[in-house]
Every structure is written in structure tokens, then in C-alpha cells.
């Protein structure tokens, strides 16, 4: 791999005595889509939440090992800085219910008290909504509440909100699991377009989705990284028997 932007190094995580992730090693390449797949409860969501330190919301969570962002351990950095560099979109769309579409997109600046001019704000909102392929649908309703949008639109609004902060990495935690097939297709298309601008790590338990959109795939099973490699290889000639069984639907 030529330019890993994120390196997960001997990383383990758990809650109290319950070990969830065991000794994970993972290199994430810049401007590529890396899919993390595995059956429910395998720890893939825990891994992605650790990458922007959201696991710290749960007091019993503990981690060991390193996660290096541009060769700097995120656990040595301020959590707030980590989260500005690594954006996240969640399973269920969660736009801010009290804010308009416009304010939702610019929320990262407003809530952080970052002052920018009106012109810059308008530009960032427009650019982010365009990147998230939502601009044409909402450009006449920017000052309506974000919660009036459909589920798929809300999820793209959340993507726009994350992109507005200009993150290096975008984490997507099963972003389509609460959406209908059409919205799902829309988001998948969007994610592929986005990789020229941002490195994407996407968690999914949808095997075909990982095959369709990702450049690299990591397969996690029972907290272990079973296999990691270019998606094409992993799907056609899996090295590990468990990967093969998972891909052919023997468990999961």
C-alpha cells in the first residue's frame, strides 16, 4: 500500500471484562473506500467508533494499541481535533431537529464557535450539499427544518454536515441500514463519487454492498481481523476458510 492515511496498530478494545476487538492491524489507504464487514456483534461498529474516539462516551470502554492518523496516535491528540479530522455518519440519520437544512450543514462551524463570513458560510453549505448530491433537491428549502426530509435525504444531509468540516476521513457506520433500496443505491453512488475528495471507511453487514463500492475489504469475525485485502481478491480468492464461508452465506 502506497500511502496509508490511517494505521490501526495492535489495537484491542472492550467494555469492562468483555473483550470486543482483539489485536487488529489495518492500513487505510488515502482516497479509497475500505469496507469493514462481518456478522452482527463482531465488533465492526466498535472499531469504527474507536477511530474517532466515540467509544469514550461509554465509561466502561477501554482500548489498547494505537491508531495512527498521519503517523500521529489519535489517543495522544485532543478528541475534539480527532473528530474534526475524522467525520462520522451513523446508522440512523440524525440531523439536528431544531435546525434548518442550512444550519445543519454549517453546524460544525456554528456549534464549535468558529466564526466565518456569510459568504464563506453560503459557499460551504452549497459545496457540501452538492458533494452530498442533495443540493438540487433542497436548494429552494434551505431554511426549512432538516427533519422534514425523507430518510435518504436526511442521511445525505448528515453526510453533507460531516463533509462541511472538510475531514480527512469519513466514517460511515452502516449508513444505509435504515433506508429503502432506492435511497441505498443513491447513497452508494454518492460514496463512490466522494472518494476522490475524502478517504472513506464504511461498516456494512451487507456483503454485496461491500463488493460493489469498496476498494479494500476487511472481514472481522468474533473480534478478530480474519482477512484484509483488495476487495476483488478477497471476494474471488479468499485466503481464509471463514471468509469464504461468510461470503457464501454459511453463517452471518
Amino acid at each position: 500500500m502506497e500511502s496509508p492515511v490511517l494505521a490501526v496498530d495492535h489495537f484491542s478494545a472492550g467494555f469492562d471484562t468483555n473483550q470486543v476487538l482483539k489485536d487488529i492491524d489495518l492500513l487505510i489507504e488515502k482516497n479509497r473506500i475500505t469496507a469493514i464487514m462481518g456478522p452482527s456483534g463482531c465488533g465492526k461498529t466498535t472499531l469504527i467508533r474507536c477511530i474517532n474516539r466515540m467509544h469514550e462516551l461509554i465509561p466502561s470502554a477501554r482500548v489498547s494499541g494505537k491508531i495512527l492518523l498521519d503517523n500521529e496516535d489519535i489517543f495522544d491528540m485532543d478528541a475534539i481535533i480527532v473528530r474534526r479530522k475524522i467525520g462520522m455518519v451513523f446508522q440512523r440519520p440524525n440531523p439536528f431537529p431544531t435546525m434548518s437544512i442550512y444550519d445543519n450543514v454549517i453546524a460544525g462551524y456554528n456549534l464549535n464557535g468558529i466564526r466565518i463570513s456569510k459568504g464563506d458560510r453560503d459557499r460551504i453549505v452549497e459545496e457540501s450539499l452538492k458533494k452530498a448530491a442533495l443540493w438540487d433537491e433542497v436548494k429552494d428549502a434551505l431554511h426549512r427544518r432538516g427533519t422534514f426530509l425523507s430518510g435518504g435525504q436526511q442521511q445525505r444531509l448528515c453526510i453533507a454536515r460531516a463533509l462541511a468540516m472538510n475531514p480527512e476521513i469519513l466514517l460511515l457506520d452502516e449508513p444505509t441500514s435504515a433506508l429503502d433500496p432506492k435511497s441505498t443505491a443513491h447513497i452508494e453512488e454518492l460514496v463512490v463519487q466522494l472518494k476522490s475528495a475524502v478517504t472513506i471507511i464504511q461498516v456494512t453487514h451487507n456483503i454485496p454492498q461491500a463488493a460493489r463500492i469498496s476498494d479494500y475489504t476487511a472481514f472481522i469475525y468474533l473480534g478478530e481481523l480474519v482477512e484484509f485485502g483488495p476487495t476483488e481478491k478477497l471476494f474471488t480468492v479468499p485466503k481464509d476458510k471463514r471468509t469464504e464461508e461468510y461470503l457464501t452465506g454459511k453463517f452471518g
Binding site: 473528530r83 440524525n94 427533519t147
Partner: protein, 282 residues
């Protein structure tokens, strides 16, 4: 045989329904009687003069309850200044740190405070404020009423914030927003309707309190101008006038009751309607 049990069931069903509706009717009757009597006796006293004049000396007709209205407003304001910030912050703490030992203790204390008789709170305010200052005062009344407001605000804030989905907090934190800003700028605004409703209901609760004011605000026939001097309030006026031997004063007491009732009713209605209207949709 089959038909008979069916008929019996239908009849039993019907009887049960009738009994329940009748008993519900009985339980709302007192409310209507109160409204009716207070309106009937009180509404004739209401006039512009009644609302804007000070009480007349014994023997003279006329006179109003302006001192009581202003006094009540002042007391509610003082109580709110004490209780609203403290109550909201405590509510945030209880909702955010549910498992702390200290939060368990705080919640227990708030519940006990909620059940503390108002007269006891009056005595506490007397010991804490009236004695050190050396006189009855609006301030001491405000403190007493503030202590009564506190648990209502704490509990409504806590309940409101507990209902906020975690996804809301995550959305904010994932943007690199600090925890305090997340609480103040995302969580609180989303819960504003519930918190404001709690505030209105707590004001409605203290607006009619008399007991804790008997030895704190004390009552005064003059316009309130100084928080260190005694002031009147609507319930105190009702109490003093209704227990007096003069029929003109009894009329004033009915009038003051009516004003108080309308005020509390309006607060409750606003709280109820506002809750529905301002509710944030997720």
C-alpha cells in the same frame, strides 16, 4: 347456553363502562364547582380600579389589589431567579450522570424536597433569611417559593433530557463539538419545550402558595418597592381578607381568588398547548 353468557358479557361490559364514565364525571365535578363559585362571586369585583388601586382603609368602599398583583409578580420573579438556573443545571447533571453516586443522592434529595410541606420550607426561609436580615421581606418569600419551585424544574428538566435520543449527542460530538457546547447548544434547545413547560407549571404551583409566605413575605398594604421590605401576594390577600370581619373585604377576597385562578389556569393551558406546539420532532 352460549347466547346467555354472551349477553351477560355484553351487559357486564356496558355496566363497567357506565360506572367508569360516571366516576370520572364525579372527579371533575369539584373543579367545575370551584370555577363556578369563584367566577360567580369574584367576577363582580373585577374592574380597572380593582386591578390598579391599592387597598382602601377599613370602612371605605372601593380599593384594589394592585399591591398583591405586583407583590406576586415580584415574588415569582425572585423565586425564578433562584430556582430556574439552579434547577436546569441540576436537571442536566441528573440526566447526564445517571449512575453517579452523588447523582443518586441528589435525585433522592430533590424527591424529598418535592414532598416537603410548604410550611416547613417557610420556616427554613424564616431562619435563613428573615432572622439574619431582621425583618420580613420579599426576598425571604422569594427564597421560600424558589425552594418550592426547584424540584419541579429539576425533575421536568431531567425527564425531558432523558428522552433525548443518544444519536443527537453523537451527531454533535462527532463534529468535534465539545461536551459543554453540545449540552448547551444542541441538547438544551431540543428539550426547550419540556423545560419551559416545567417552568410554567412550577410557577403555577407556587403562585397559589400561602403558608410559606405567612412568616416570610408577610403581606403589606403598600406597593412593593424594596425586596428587603414585606410585600403582599394574591394568596396572602385572599387569606387576610377572607378571614377579616368586613363584608367589603370578603368581596375583595373573592375578586383576588378569581384573578389568581385565572392566572394559574392560563399558565396550565399555555404549558399544555405549548408542549404540543413547540415539541421538537425527531
Amino acid at each position: 347456553m352460549k347466547d346467555r353468557t354472551l349477553t351477560r358479557r355484553i351487559v357486564a361490559d356496558r355496566i363497567f363502562q357506565v360506572v367508569v364514565v360516571f366516576l370520572s364525571f364525579c372527579s371533575i365535578l369539584p373543579m367545575f364547582f370551584i370555577l363556578f363559585f369563584i367566577s360567580k362571586n369574584g367576577i363582580s369585583s373585577i374592574s380597572w380600579n380593582f386591578l390598579t388601586r391599592l387597598p382602601a382603609p377599613v370602612g371605605e368602599t372601593g380599593g384594589g389589589i394592585a399591591n398583591a398583583i405586583v407583590g406576586s409578580a415580584l415574588l415569582i420573579l425572585l423565586a425564578s431567579v433562584v430556582a430556574v438556573p439552579l434547577g436546569i443545571l441540576t436537571g442536566i447533571y441528573l440526566a447526564e450522570y445517571r449512575k453517579d453516586k452523588f447523582s443518586y443522592l441528589s435525585r433522592l434529595s430533590v424527591e424529598i424536597l418535592m414532598g416537603t410541606p410548604s410550611i416547613v420550607i417557610g420556616i427554613i426561609a424564616y431562619v435563613w433569611v428573615v432572622k439574619p436580615i431582621g425583618s420580613f421581606s420579599a426576598l425571604s418569600g422569594g427564597v421560600a417559593l424558589g425552594i418550592m419551585m426547584l424540584p419541579v424544574i429539576v425533575m421536568s428538566t431531567e425527564e425531558t433530557l432523558k428522552l433525548m435520543p443518544d444519536s443527537l449527542k453523537e451527531a454533535s460530538l462527532a463534529l468535534g463539538v465539545s461536551y459543554p457546547r453540545t449540552i448547551m447548544k444542541v441538547i438544551l434547545p431540543a428539550g426547550l419545550s419540556g423545560i419551559v413547560t416545567g417552568m410554567l407549571l412550577s410557577v403555577a404551583r407556587i403562585a397559589g402558595e400561602t403558608a410559606p409566605l405567612l412568616f416570610t413575605a408577610f403581606g403589606s398594604p403598600f406597593m412593593a418597592a424594596n425586596v428587603f421590605k414585606p410585600v403582599s401576594s394574591l394568596p396572602l390577600t385572599v387569606f387576610n381578607y377572607a378571614t377579616s370581619p368586613y363584608p367589603e373585604w370578603h368581596a375583595l377576597a373573592w375578586g383576588a381568588s378569581f384573578v389568581l385562578l385565572v392566572f394559574v389556569l392560563a399558565l396550565n393551558l399555555i404549558a399544555k398547548l405549548g408542549m404540543r406546539k413547540w415539541k421538537v420532532q425527531f
